[in-house]
Symmetry: C2
Subunit: 324 residues, 2 copies
C-alpha cells in the first residue's frame, strides 16, 4: 500500500507533537517540516525546508498538517495553502470558525482540494461529543469542564506581574460540580463558577509577595471574579513539577429519556501532553483528508462531516469485525 505523505507546517509544540506522533502510524510518512525560520535553526533529525519551498512539494505531499498558531498564523496560512494542498488544522478560535470554514470552503472547492478544519480536542473531539450527546438526548443539558490543565494565556499573564520569576496557571474544574452532573443532580452551570484558577509561582528575589498575590487576584478578565489559589514554590519544585503541558476535561450531558429516567453521557480526556494529544487527533484527520481527497470529496470539512471510519488505517471490513 502506498503511504499517505505528510508535510508539517510550523514547528512549535504542536508541530513537534505531529513529528513524533507520525512514528506510530505505519500508513503515513513524513516528507518534511516547513518553517518561516531558517531551516537549520530547528533542532530535529527530520528534513526541514523554508516555507517558501512548499510549492515545490505540490506533487509529493498528499496532506499538509498546519501547526501554526490560531491567532495569527492559521487565518492567513490555511486559505493560502489550501490552494495547492489538502490541509488539516486545529483552528481553535471558536467564534471565528464559521468564517474560517467559508473562506476555506471557497478556496478548496475552486482548487479541488480537501481542507479539514478545527480538529484537535476542543474544538474537535469535545465538539463531536457535544453533537452526539445532543442528537441522542434532545431533552437535556450539556456541560463542558476544562482541565485540570495548563492555560498558556493565563500563565503568560501571571509571568508579566512584577516580582514573578516563573509561573504556571492550571484551570481546574470544581469537582463537586462535575460530580453533581455525574450523579444526575441538577446544576446551575456557568463557565466561570465551574472552574478555579490554580497558580504556582516562583518569586523574584526581594519581590513583595503580598503585592504579587493582589496583582494576580485582581487582574481583570484573567482572574478577577474567579476562585483563585496562589502557591509560592521554589525553583527546584517548579522545575520538577511544573514544566509539562497537561490538559484535559469532560463533556457531559444529562438527558431525560422519559420524565422518570435519566441518562448521563460522558466523554473525558486526561492528557499528560496537550500538544501531543492534539497532534494525535490531527494525524488521524490527516489520514481522513487523504482518503476524502482521493474520493474527490473536495471542500472544507469539519469533524462533523467526516465518517469515523476515515480516521482509521483499518478497512471497513476489519473495523466491523474487530471494533463494532
Amino acid at each position: 500500500m502506498k503511504k499517505t505523505t505528510i508535510g508539517i507546517v510550523g514547528y512549535g509544540n504542536l508541530g513537534k507533537g505531529v513529528e513524533v506522533g507520525l512514528k506510530h502510524s505505519v500508513d503515513l510518512e513524513l516528507v518534511g517540516i516547513f518553517t518561516r525560520r531558517q531551516p537549520d535553526q530547528l533542532e530535529t533529525s527530520s528534513p526541514v525546508y523554508h516555507i517558501d519551498k512548499l510549492v515545490d512539494f505540490k506533487d509529493t505531499i498528499d496532506v499538509l498538517i498546519l501547526c501554526g498558531g490560531s491567532q495569527k498564523d492559521i487565518p492567513t496560512q490555511a486559505p493560502k495553502m489550501a490552494e495547492l494542498f489538502n490541509t488539516v488544522d486545529t483552528y481553535d478560535n471558536h467564534n471565528e470558525i464559521p468564517t474560517h470554514f467559508e473562506k476555506l470552503d471557497k478556496v478548496a472547492r475552486n482548487n479541488n482540494t480537501t481542507a479539514v478544519l478545527s480538529t484537535g480536542w476542543d474544538p474537535g473531539l469535545f465538539s463531536l461529543n457535544r453533537l452526539f450527546a445532543e442528537a441522542i438526548l434532545p431533552k437535556g443539558n450539556t456541560y463542558t469542564f476544562w482541565g485540570p490543565g495548563l492555560s498558556q494565556g493565563h500563565s503568560d499573564a501571571v509571568r508579566r506581574v512584577e516580582g514573578v520569576k516563573h509561573a504556571v496557571q492550571y484551570t481546574v474544574p470544581k469537582q463537586e460540580q462535575v460530580d453533581a452532573v455525574k450523579n444526575k443532580k441538577s446544576l446551575d452551570y456557568n463557565k466561570q463558577d465551574a472552574h478555579k484558577r490554580v497558580v504556582f509561582l516562583v518569586l523574584d528575589e526581594n519581590a513583595d509577595e503580598k503585592k504579587v498575590r493582589e496583582s494576580i487576584s485582581t487582574m481583570p478578565d484573567y482572574f478577577y471574579g474567579y476562585e483563585t489559589e496562589i502557591t509560592i514554590i521554589d525553583q527546584a519544585t517548579f522545575d520538577r513539577d511544573h514544566t509539562g503541558m497537561p490538559h484535559g476535561g469532560t463533556v457531559m450531558r444529562q438527558g431525560k429519556t422519559t420524565d422518570e429516567n435519566t441518562a448521563v453521557y460522558q466523554f473525558g480526556l486526561d492528557l499528560d501532553s496537550n500538544p501531543e494529544f492534539t497532534a494525535a487527533v490531527t494525524i488521524a484527520y490527516a489520514r481522513a483528508a487523504g482518503k476524502l481527497a482521493k474520493e474527490k470529496q473536495y471542500g472544507a470539512k469539519t469533524v462533523f462531516d467526516i465518517a469515523p471510519s476515515y480516521l482509521s488505517p483499518k478497512d471497513p471490513k476489519e473495523l466491523r469485525k474487530e471494533l463494532l
Copy 2:
C-alpha cells in the same frame, strides 16, 4: 420542513422506548407500530397494525426502526424489510455482525434502500469510541467495562433455579480496575475478572437458601468462575428497588503519545433505562438513514460509515456555529 416518517417494528422494551423517544424529536413522526401479535392486544395510544400490513406503508414510511430481538427476529426480519424500506436496527450479536452486514448490503443495494445496522450503545456508541480512541492513540490498550447494569440473560438464568421466586442480576465492573486505567496504571485485563455478578433474589416459601446459593454460584457459563454476590431480599424490597432496567459502562483507552506521556481517553454511560437509551440512539440513526436515503446513499451502513452531522436535526451551518 417535511417530517421524516417512522414505523416501529416490534413492541417490546425497545419498541416502547422508541415510541416515547420520538416525542422529543420534532423532525420525526411516528406513523405506526407493527407487531406479530393481534394489534388490539397492545396497550398504547399509537396506531398499531399487524406486521402483514407493512407493505401497504411502502410509500408513507421513510424509515423503519426494527425493535425485534437480535437472537431470533432481526436476522430474518431485517433483510426482508430492507427490500421495501430504509431500516435501522440494534443487532447486537457481535460475532454475526459481518454476516448480517453482507446480507443487508446486498438486499439494500439491489432495492435502493439504506439499512443501518447495529446502532445502540454496544454495539453502537461503544464501538464508535473504540474506533476513535484506537485511531487517535495507535500505541495503547482499549478496555471496556460493562455496568453497573441489569443483565437480562443472567437474571433469567437465576429465575430458573429451584426455590427462586424473583431475581435480578447486575453486572458490576470492579472499581479498582476502572480506577487503575483512569489513573494511568497498567492493568492485566480480562473480561471475566474485570466484572462481578451481583444477584438480588426473593426466595420461594420453604426454599433451601443454601442450595439456592450453591446452584447459582456453580452454574457453568453464567456464574462459575466469576466473583458472585448473592443477596436475599423480601418482595417489598424487590418491588421497590429492582424493577428498572439500568445499564451503562465505560470504554477507555490508555495511549502513549510519546514514551513519557500518556493520554487517557474515556467514554461512559450511566443509564436509568437501557432500552430507552438504546431507543434514543436508534432514533438519531433513523434520522441519518432518512437523510442518506434521500441522498441516494444506498446499501448497508454501520455507525462507522455515517458522518456525525447526519444524526442531528440541525443543519451543518448551525452545528458549526453552536457546537464546534
